[in-house]
Subunit: 290 residues, 2 copies
């Protein structure tokens, strides 16, 4: 989706011509290199007609990463954001140490994530401040003074303050959802109320500049919604086709209303302790906000 | 979704009781620890009624990772597989060096992935052999003799041979789709034919033990389909609710048929070079197979 990236790739790659006009993948002589450069320029020129699908001012996107987050919550929106042109993406944490290695209270994630930017080096004004969800990490983050102070500060100036899944509980604990409609993971909607937000079940909930997504896989729907707000609907549609996002779940069990009763009951019982712990954590977090 | 994991977490975690029956998160005295252990046993006992949603023999899942793969292709199915009980998941590569760091011909991925298991240490009989997609990595893998030999070997004994997105082109290059119906990324359906497969557009295409998913985001639909085949439909439904997979794309542009004409045309033009390179690569790979 990044035209310059594709052109650079074609220029640098041993797979020369991957994204340029059709030509031999074995080009190598200086005449062929010159032809390639011309072809790339022609390709770039031809693409100008699609500026509405690719253009727009530089975007600065900051995504919190933390131990005990759920990787899909991060990677869904990231897949969308990475498809944008003219953007920088920061994976934000206290340090540059990978998160998701063995931690007290959290199992090792199969894929640890290395932050790209520390809180201290985070750009001042973010176009998007994003917080993924995941347990048990969410509950720990809700009571982590350094994380809460960082989010409260960046949330003041961010163009959009956003989350997926239980990430909204962290935003709420930082005082960023007080008086805002917001959503979270289906099993924890009640907890938002303890944080001063207005629980509003939905796949993506927009209230002024707060944009919160539902559980886990809602991150892709959320990402496309944000792109439409940052760029245009046409731009988001191009990203959607790029990601072939034409979902067709083989079953209809993705919400508590749709799931078979026994499935809903199983997860309800599994989440009894989580619901209780999340509520108690929210009450403490709210008290701290004063 | 992993009952034993949740119970272990409750036992070990500073967030004690997260997934057990509701009780104070501050339990700490020995009497409280004893109460906790009893509560966990009661919880485990109570959960036995859900064995149909959580039980089943040990599953061994092997997922290829490689430079230039697309992270969502891997993480969608991984989110589903991680929700299974009684499974081991191997992220397979030649070495344990992270893939996605700067590579000739491929830009650095924002999140490099550290393999967990080398080809040499891969278990002999996999329940699932899975290959994600992504360009330019796919084209490189299609002509990498070590990767092709590894997949051809494991594919002989794997219970299911599977892919998402352009991963099917790698399976095809390893001779694993000859005579099988299969799908791939929407823009590259034609390439499957060069590899001896029967191109069959679809979100998830099942032909005997070959299960191939469409582009990128199809990985979640694919994962649920595989879980239903490995465990049961009810099990897959439980995972679906756990992941709150109730997609609601804000736009209808996820397939070439649904996308607005200008969006489709833009991506078609962007992919001209890729289509050509993929076809040439497939022709060479097929020749090598003999």
């Amino acid at each position: 989706m990044d035209r310059r990236y594709f052109v650079r790739l074609a220029a640098l790659s041993s797979l020369a011509g991957l994204f340029g006009p059709a030509r031999s993948a074995e080009a190598g002589s200086s005449a062929e290199v010159a032809t390639k450069a011309t072809a790339e320029q022609q390709h770039l020129d031809a693409m100008h007609k699609y500026d509405a699908l690719t253009g727009g001012p530089k975007l600065t996107i900051g995504m919190l990463v933390y131990p005990g987050m759920f990787l899909q919550d991060l990677v869904g929106p990231l897949a969308v954001f990475e498809a944008l042109m003219n953007r920088e993406i920061h994976l934000l944490w206290k340090t540059l140490d990978p998160v998701g290695n063995e931690q007290p209270g959290a199992p090792a994630a199969l894929i640890p994530v290395k932050p790209t930017t520390t809180f201290a080096n985070c750009p001042k004004n973010l176009d998007v401040l994003f917080v993924p969800g995941g347990v048990p990490g969410t509950l720990t983050m809700m009571e982590d003074p350094e994380v809460i102070a960082f989010l409260a500060d960046k949330g003041k100036t961010a163009r959009y303050v956003t989350s997926v899944c239980t990430g909204s509980l962290i935003l709420g604990a930082a005082g960023l959802l007080t008086g805002y409609k917001a959503t979270t993971y289906w099993a924890l909607q009640d907890v938002l109320q303890e944080l001063g937000a207005i629980p509003t079940p939905g796949r993506v909930v927009v209230d002024r500049n707060r944009v919160t997504g539902g559980g886990v896989t809602a991150g892709i729907d959320f990402g496309l919604q944000i792109v439409a707000m940052l760029r245009s609907e046409a731009y988001a549609q191009a990203v959607q086709l790029y990601l072939e996002y034409d979902p067709a779940p083989p079953f209809q069990s993705g919400s508590p209303e749709k799931a078979p009763a026994v499935v809903k009951q199983f997860l309800d019982e599994m989440f009894v302790g989580l619901k209780h712990a999340a509520k108690q954590t929210a009450i403490r977090a709210r008290k701290r906000l004063g």
